[in-house]
Amino acid sequence: MHIRIRAVILLLLGTALWTSPASAQTWFEWPDTIVDLSRYTTIDQCHAAVGRVRVAVGVQDLRATGIWRDTIPYDPAEDSVRLPDEVSETARRCLERFATVDSVPLDYFKVLVPLYVIAGWDEKAQALVRRRIATIEPDDEDALVSVLDSVSRIYRGNPVDNSGVLRVRPQRPELALEIFQEYLPRISDRVNRFMVYRDMWWMIDPDAGIVDSATAQEATEGFFAFVDSLTAEDRQRLHEKISSSLDSESLERQIRALLRMRRGHEEFLDSLRHSTESYVRARRQVWSDLFGQPPETFGFGMPIGTRAPAIEADLWFGCDGPCDPRPRPGKVSIVLFVDHGDCIGVIKNDSNFHDSCVRNLATLRHLEERFPTLETTIVTRTRGYFQFLKDSITPEREAELIRRWIEHFRLRAAIAVTFPGHWRLPAPDRRRIDQESPNRINYSFGNTWGADSGIIFLIDQDGLIIYSHQLHRYRAVDYAKMIEVLLEREAATS
């Protein structure tokens, strides 16, 4: 027993430097984030230990700050934040017995490289990559490209395991570029070189602040110079190899369109400042360049530039006076579709609360707070139940429950509730078939663009749809920029 106590004390002392101190309000005892590393003796166990500490530290952060981070505005710098010291320290300590790169099993290449980076052992990670590449036959270019692709994924922070434990943060494109530049000369096949160039190009996103703009510029120019040099035969082989929508005849144009989509937000905003018409034209041009056809050819319902239909409702909530018409003429507005059947679902016990709506509503609230004159409307419908309540529920009662639930998020949005009705399959099947709500019908475009729960429509003061997508916090910055431009235009015309 004394030995156990002494071991625990030593462990506590040993980890004291990297356990985060309790702060803010303590609701209950802190969970144990200390891992007894003496029990973790294999690479798989180290993988698990790092995972456990990563989760536990995340929970501690949540408790200490009281902030559920996916409900606060997205900051691109989040992707550059270093992993907590506890995680790195756990990786370092656990991997001590696997620190000799020359002797670790290469089967664990995809696990050890990210763990080495998490541990802060960049040189070991690079050495292991080189050791792995050294095992590839000199004439086996496909195998080399495959390994480089894995290296790109690992250093870009894309998880190579299902749990995301091995996600490298911050991204380390400079390590990948070092490897790429070293081994690119070994690749003679031009299609294979394209694959490597493409990986390099995707890695360097100056918007994320991960590489400097000079490096990004150099890589982009190198990529395009290479694309320019591709022969017709190269392009045909490339088309066959990647089997994508890129057609072999207009590869360069399409890649440039992709670049515009990726980096062209400012360009779109400039158009939007000028007029909705020029903005819509620019958007459609990128689409046509990308796919070689206007969106209508594919039956793809691109709603941008389309007039927003009037929202219908059997009941309105949240307005001082009459709510309709919505969207109101002359007002910049957001319409958000919310279906409690999807985002709350059925609650079946006391630990079964769902939350998929919460981050959407939190993002909407941030936009409302930032733009007080922005008109917001939440469009919802009845489903015949709410959470677990069903007995004798009426559409009016369900609408009231939805209102109370949304009200909890302190939104000023008007709430439009429709009672679309339903029918049932004959007995004994008796399944309920909900009729489509008129708003979902009106806001569905083409064959593919449906107003599902979580979709927003940004609408200008003339009632034209400017943008439509999931109301995701990662896109909130883009929404905000567009709203800002539209509100400036609204102010100028009023």
């Binding site: 005892e29 144990d32 630990s351 639930w405």
Partner: protein, 506 residues
């Protein structure tokens, strides 16, 4: 279990200070400590609550069971045992935390407190941010649903000496005939308690999850196999019931001896399709796979292979099941009632009260479903477990009459090792065992070597010629580990049953 062990368990249940006097015998009225009473379970909950430190909710799921068992082989008793165990799952939800669940079978203060601490750690490691986010209406209160009467003092009180007497009585006829008897007799009792929850309103009610905070039950199973000395003949008989007094051990022994005698020196027949007369036990063995398909309507309605999957309905963009369609012979009805004492279904704290008709006059009328499915798509507010026991409808034809009206066919005692080969057609395979006879021109003419069959119960139910009176059969369910589905089934005669190979087993 020794007297010392009994005392230790009693101390654990009641806590260290309230240990009752040790119970030296399991007989008569002095068997109360075999399982935990409702009050004892409540006491465990209170103790668990007293150990909780971090606030929030505390619940316990308690399973206690006892089993008295006697086994014999080659006409000699080989095992006699009394076993019991108790398992407690401590469920803690600290404020803001997820649900932590930790199990123990040690009920002393130190162990229980340790389990509570571990559950709290588990709970506090997680985070349930949605708990309390948004407005949640109060949960409605429902009335109480009463448990089935499946408790028998006779079963609970069957002591070691009585079990030995029964075994002796069952061995004697085999020994007198020069045969070898093997078998077992098992009496069981158990209690399940699910106490303490954040949603107290869900503890009871017609539509609720938690209808029986405390349930107790008994089960009795008796099975015997009789072989001749040369190993060419084998006879079997068995029966299950919650009430031991409804099982006649002597009758089972006589039946097994008769079958053994009649099954000696079997002849080999060519595999092929035969008209079969399935005794009730064989019907239950074959239908086990069939009734399991009643469990989830979500399976066909999600387009997953199932005998009840019809097709995708393009008009409504849904997978359609065969609900409402005729799927088997119109003389066939499958029902179950959780409160049916003849079936002796062990209730769970979460139970749909029933009764349920799965197939009515050949038409598929009901399938089990999850709670979410009912709330979202159906008309209730409850989950429906599949067939936890079942009654299959029958007819008036006796087995003798079935034999008399058969020109050429086989009489099957039972099947073993039945397993499914295809989840859509329910094509299954298994072996005939312990008595297979050839019928020719209305008479049993000879014993036949056993076959492997490859057949679908669904096909059998569509090829029925005659049905007999439904009777209870041997279905050794075990509450802790599941097991076979309690059943009341008829004998039946069906045509074109497919036997695919000979086997050597008797």
């Amino acid at each position: 279990m020794s007297t010392g062990e009994q005392t230790r368990v009693a101390e654990q249940v009641h806590g260290d200070d309230n240990a009752p006097a040790p119970n030296p015998s399991w007989s008569g009225a002095q068997v109360e400590n075999r399982i935990l009473s409702s009050e004892e379970c409540q006491a465990i909950l209170e103790r668990a609550k007293s150990f909780a430190k971090l606030g929030g909710d505390t619940a316990v799921l308690i399973n206690s069971w006892w089993q008295g068992e006697l086994r014999w082989a080659r006409n000699r008793i080989s095992l006699s045992s009394d076993r019991r165990d108790v398992g407690v799952m401590v469920i803690r939800t600290v404020p803001g935390g997820i649900q932590g669940r930790v199990s123990t079978n040690q009920l002393d203060d130190a162990s229980l407190e340790s389990a509570v601490r571990a559950a709290e750690r588990q709970s506090s490691r997680g985070w349930n941010p949605s708990r309390g986010v948004g407005y949640f209406p109060p949960i409605p209160h429902y009335g109480r649903f009463e448990n089935a009467a499946i408790w028998s003092d006779a079963t609970y009180g069957l002591d070691t000496e009585s079990r030995a007497e029964i075994a002796r009585s069952m061995i004697e006829p085999a020994e007198a005939a020069g045969f070898y008897s093997a078998g077992y007799l098992e009496v069981r009792a158990g209690a399940t308690a699910y106490l303490g929850t954040a949603f107290k309103e869900l503890q009871s009610g017609e539509h609720a999850f938690w209808e029986n905070p405390y349930v107790r039950w008994t089960q009795a199973h008796c099975s015997t196999t009789v072989r001749d000395a040369r190993g060419t003949g084998s006879g079997w008989a068995g029966l299950s019931n919650y009430d031991w007094t409804r099982i006649d051990g002597d009758a089972l022994a006589r039946r097994a001896v008769e079958k053994c005698r009649a099954s000696r020196n079997p002849v080999a027949l060519e595999p092929g399709r035969y008209t079969v007369i399935l005794e009730p036990q064989a019907v239950a063995d074959l239908m086990e796979i069939f009734v399991a398909t009643f469990a989830f309507r979500e399976i066909p309605e999600e387009g997953i292979a199932s005998p009840w999957l019809l097709a995708f309905d393009d008009a409504i963009e849904l997978w359609r099941s065969k609900l409402g369609l005729k799927v088997v012979d119109e003389r066939i009805t499958f029902t179950h009632d959780p409160a049916d004492p003849e079936l002796g279904i062990v209730m769970r704290p979460l139970e749909w009260p029933g009764p349920v008709t799965w197939i009515e006059r050949g038409v598929l009328t009901k399938l089990g479903h999850r709670f979410e499915t009912d709330v979202k798509q159906l008309e209730g507010n409850h989950a429906l477990r599949g067939a936890t026991g079942y009654r299959m409808s029958g007819g008036k034809t006796s087995i003798d009459e079935m034999i008399r009206t058969t020109r050429r066919g086989l009489l099957v005692t039972r099947f073993s090792n039945v397993r499914s080969l295809d989840s859509a057609s329910l094509l299954s395979t298994g072996l005939t065992r312990d008595g297979l006879w050839l019928i020719e021109n209305g008479e049993i003419t000879k014993a036949v070597k056993n076959f492997r069959f490859t057949e679908s119960p669904l096909a059998v139910l569509n090829q029925i010629e005659q049905l007999g009176e439904p009777v209870p059969v041997f279905r050794p369910t075990r509450h802790e580990t599941g097991g076979l589905t309690p059943a009341i089934v008829p004998p039946l005669k069906a045509r074109d049953f497919s036997f695919t190979s000979l086997i050597d087993a008797v």
